[in-house]
């Protein structure tokens, strides 16, 4: 297991506080946990892409970063309107 793969697995520990936030806190805090989880997952995918040695896999991280932005904005709009 190379350095990139080990770091990717180690980075998964950063998802535990996000999961606690998402499962146990208020609605806005859950959204913040989701946003943080999206960033962490983007980093994990980038590390996995580097571990694989094929730069095409960076597109997955790129797609996730874009989709997390759109998804989080939709959640924010709904939370603003008390839904």
């Amino acid at each position: 297991m190379n350095m990139w793969l080990t770091a990717a697995f180690a980075l998964l520990f950063a998802l535990i506080p996000c999961a606690i936030l998402v499962f146990r806190f208020s609605q806005i805090d859950r959204l913040i946990g989701l946003e943080m989880a999206g960033v962490v997952e983007t980093l994990v995918l980038a590390l996995l892409a580097q571990a694989s040695g094929n730069p095409i896999y960076y597109d997955l991280a790129l797609a996730l970063a874009l989709l997390m932005f759109g998804g989080s904005l939709v959640f924010v709009r709904f939370l603003e309107r008390w839904l």
């Binding site: 913040i32 946003e35 943080m36 730069p55």
Partner: protein, 106 residues
């Protein structure tokens, strides 16, 4: 030497991300929690790109990683503002500042 520095940078990324994630959980209010996404977004992909440059040199992967960094920084600025705004609206029922928030003019 550069490989050791790349190792250091990658583990710095891991430490920074885990630290900010735990700190986000410890903070008391939503707005305090929101601050801890910024270091991860702004520093972690940049340090990762530097580590990739040190091990593999410049290439398509580094270009994509730098693009992801720029994208994350730009989108996180918008998202943080929108989330903070939603948190304030849910707390105060309005986005407008309360009268005691305004700075008194001399």
């Amino acid at each position: 030497m550069s490989a050791a520095f790349a190792h250091l940078l990658v583990w710095l990324v891991v430490a920074l991300t885990v630290f900010c994630s735990v700190a986000m959980l410890i903070m008391r209010t939503s707005l305090e929690r929101l601050h801890f996404t910024a270091p991860v977004v702004a520093l972690a992909p940049l340090l990762l790109a530097l580590a990739v440059i040190l091990t593999a040199g410049l290439g398509v992967g580094v270009a994509k990683l730098l693009f992801i960094t720029v994208l994350l920084v730009l989108t996180n600025a918008v998202l943080s503002h929108a989330t903070g705004r939603a948190a304030r609206i849910r707390r105060d029922q309005t986005w407008m500042p309360a009268t005691d928030d305004r700075v008194e003019e001399e």
